[in-house]
């Protein structure tokens, strides 16, 4: 990762390429909260940060991570903040004002979506909506080389326009490996910044805040002009083609389009958008209103009559149809007869796959697709038993599960689940999970259920998740008086995302003991038990289920995967 041989190719994962890009840009301050498919960014900085002279921290949650980044940027440091899609929701409250104040030290925010929810239990999020909501300039790379180049470009844009810039990847970009051509790493002599007072710039208080919004929109206009001329929005030259047919795409979709055109032996004009926000509107209008022509042929303005304009365009984009809607809007001005196809052929649900795009393009361009023998096999319904993810052999959670089974009749108790390895409680053979939502929510929802019913309720939360978002919800159960039994699964690590440390981890020298936090909030029914002591655990569960106030059991036993 730290190899300094400009021009050499090395194999990098998309996420590693982002790290490399940040190092080449001279990043000084990095904060993150782990989450697949973004975790490798933080984990790589955790490994190499010191030797690269970069400040790195795993923050307690994404909101704090972004706020730390804002502080570093206000103090003039080149800053990178990374998280998974859901993390952007957690820090949204801090993101909005940051786009208004703008960055001082250039700042790049990486956010990774997970279409098809390969590693995301919660919902299939497309964070591009947040680009519109907050007006944050957003770039979408397709492969590792672009991950590196776009990261560097994002720092440049941020430096020039004094605004944070977001890079949005997806699982198939972040976890794509390929050779990447590297450049020089720019080492900084110091990571010390200086906070220079400038309240006009850093304080978002009305009435100034309304001026700031105006200034922001003016900035976005300038960035749009930049986007119009940026090479990352590329039009493949118009070939001799199936007349009047074109494709607009971005991110991973572009790679599947190229693959499909090769497979189908088609030569269609393609507009690939590297900018998602702000979109290069002129370039798009130009693309959809241009007549197909041969390479090298001079453009004859008089020929650009409506009958020679692009007749139909296919929008290849993953998840929600933002590009499609934008193109519809732009076509009203540029080419009102244009037929726009997108979600009609490409589902809004689930990730794109190469065969889906090949089929869509074949249909769209009316060309025959060779149906291979394999199709018959594909339709052949085979019964292969499903292999669900499992708790590891020896996982401390098995002991917790077994104690619960001994202590209560699962039919008579409502079980709350939260985010971490223990969400596998919801899968066979365990199946004790009656609701599951977002990080920390098990406590918040448990409180609501307890207030609304007289049912018995046990809710689980991991140690990492407790620090991330559980504490305010615990305080709420006390303040608003409800009595769930909360079991905090303290395995000493953030296991699910790759064993990152957290504030309560025993290896952390200034570690915060969970029982001190719980006690400090005033919880009286509190016990810390190693779940291997089944008798003690079972007795505590039985006793606490009858309490009038909230109770907490801290099930403390380290994750079997941590080497000590």
């Amino acid at each position: 990762m730290l190899l300094n041989k400009p021009g050499k190719k090395i194999i990098l994962l998309g996420n590693e390429a982002i790290v490399r890009g940040a190092l080449e840009a001279g990043v000084q301050f990095v904060s993150t909260y782990p989450g697949t498919p973004a975790s490798d960014i933080g984990d790589t900085f955790f490994r190499i940060g010191k030797s690269a002279g970069v400040y790195f921290e795993y923050s307690t949650n994404e909101k704090v991570a972004l706020e730390a980044g804002v502080g570093a940027s206000f103090s003039g440091l080149k800053t990178l903040v990374a998280m998974k899609d859901f993390g952007l929701n957690v820090c949204l409250d801090a993101l909005g004002p940051f786009v208004y104040t703008g960055s001082k030290g250039p700042t790049v925010i990486i956010v990774a979506d997970d279409p098809s929810c390969h590693s995301s239990a919660q919902w299939e999020e497309g964070t591009r909506a947040i680009s519109y909501l907050t007006h944050i300039p957003t770039l979408e790379p397709a492969d590792p080389q672009e991950c590196k180049e776009f990261t560097k470009l994002a720092f440049q844009i941020s430096e020039r326009f004094k605004i944070p810039v977001m890079i949005r990847t997806t699982t198939r970009v972040a976890h794509q490996r390929a050779p990447v051509r590297i450049s020089n790493i720019e080492y900084r002599i110091s990571n010390k910044g200086r906070f220079v007072k400038d309240p006009r710039r850093f304080v978002t208080l009305p009435p100034r805040v309304m001026e700031m919004k105006k200034e922001l929109l003016e900035k976005i206009e300038k960035i749009q002009t930049f986007s119009e001329h940026s090479k990352i929005n590329q039009i493949n030259r118009f070939p001799k083609s199936i007349s009047g047919t074109g494709i607009i795409t971005s991110g991973i979709g572009y790679l599947y389009v190229k693959e499909a055109l090769k497979d189908l032996n088609l030569n269609l004009p393609v507009l690939k958008l590297g900018f998602f926000y702000p979109l290069p509107e002129k370039k798009i209008k130009d693309f959809i209103s241009r007549a197909p022509r041969q390479r090298g042929e001079a453009r004859d303005e008089s020929k650009a009559l409506s009958d020679q304009k692009l007749k139909k365009v296919l929008i290849v984009e993953e998840l929600e149809p933002y590009l499609e809607k934008e193109v519809e809007r732009l076509a009203k001005e540029a080419n009102c007869k244009l037929k726009i196809t997108g979600k009609e052929l490409i589902s809004e649900v689930g990730e794109l796959k190469p065969e889906i795009i090949t089929l869509a393009i074949a249909k769209f361009a009316n060309c025959k697709l060779k149906i291979e023998n394999s199709l018959k096999i594909r339709n052949w319904k085979l019964k292969i038993p499903k292999r669900f993810p499992q708790l590891c052999p020896g996982c401390p959670y098995w002991f917790v599960f077994s104690a619960i089974k001994k202590a209560v009749d699962p039919e008579k108790v409502v079980f709350g689940g939260d985010i971490g390895c223990y969400m596998l409680f919801g899968l066979p053979p365990l199946k004790i999970q009656d609701f599951l939502s977002c990080m920390g929510s098990s406590l918040g929802i448990a409180h609501g259920v307890k207030k609304a019913t007289d049912q018995k309720l046990i809710t689980f939360i991991g140690d990492g998740t407790f620090f991330h978002a559980g504490i305010p919800a615990l305080i709420n159960t006390i303040y608003n008086k409800s009595n769930p039994l909360i079991i905090i699964l303290d395995n000493g690590t953030t296991a699910m995302t790759g064993h990152q440390p957290h504030p309560g981890a025993p290896a952390t020298p200034n570690g915060i003991r969970i029982e001190n936090v719980v006690k400090g909030c005033g919880v009286k029914n509190l016990r810390v038990i190693d779940p291997i002591n089944q008798k003690e655990f079972v007795a505590a569960v039985k006793e606490f289920l009858n309490k009038k106030e909230v109770s907490v059991i801290i099930a403390r036993r380290p994750c079997v995967q941590i080497k000590r």
């Binding site: 194999i11 490996r177 572009y254 790679l255 085979l382 038993p385 499903k386 993810p389 499992q390």
Partner: protein, 186 residues
């Protein structure tokens, strides 16, 4: 090439070795893998594409030239990506799925043969256990075998070089032994 197995069989290390070997030969390569939840003992499928002009990191349905299975049921699960032209190189091993009726070796083999004539079943785990005392290197054994049998466009020597680069020194000897075993038995 599709590399399939169950979580924890070392797919990502194998992927790193193959990518590095391709880089040594200055060949284009692209791969796709999954992390997080899917690695916890579930089915794991990683895609590797070698060749000229590769764009997609994922293999299209029916387009896998080689399915390398570290486990038999997982090899069969890959059938949507296979065709009669696909070669299956499969470890003769069933990692049982708890609490359900698993397919037997014979059932898997019978079905694989319905897809393609090119099914190579190798008792890799058994051989590695017997000869080297460790099953974990069955993956290295199989990718080496794939290189020796020319099922992938990578020279065995490049695999060996990549192993030396990727594998930490305390496990290196075991991995090299596994490569050599594949050389001997191929």
């Amino acid at each position: 090439m599709l590399l399939v197995g169950t979580g924890g069989q070392g797919q990502i290390t194998l992927l790193q070795i193959l990518s590095e070997a391709a880089l040594i030969e200055e060949k284009e390569i692209k791969t796709s893998e999954l992390h997080g939840l899917s690695q916890r003992g579930g089915s794991v499928e990683v895609h590797i594409r070698f060749g000229k002009e590769i764009y997609s990191p994922l293999i299209s349905q029916g387009k896998a030239d080689l399915v390398l299975g570290l486990e038999m049921q997982e090899a069969l699960r890959a059938y949507p990506l296979a065709s009669p032209k696909t070669t299956f190189l499969v470890n003769r091993q069933i990692v049982p799925i708890p609490l359900v009726k698993n397919l037997t070796e014979e059932e898997v083999l019978k079905n694989l043969k319905k897809i393609s004539k090119n099914v190579i079943l190798v008792p890799a785990s058994e051989i590695c256990k017997k000869e080297l005392g460790k099953e974990v290197v069955a993956g290295i054994y199989l990718i080496s075998l794939a290189a020796f049998k020319k099922l992938i466009p990578i020279k065995p020597a490049s695999i060996l070089k990549a192993v030396k680069k990727i594998i930490p020194s305390r496990y290196l000897k075991l991995n090299i032994d596994s490569f050599n075993l594949a050389a001997k038995l191929s």
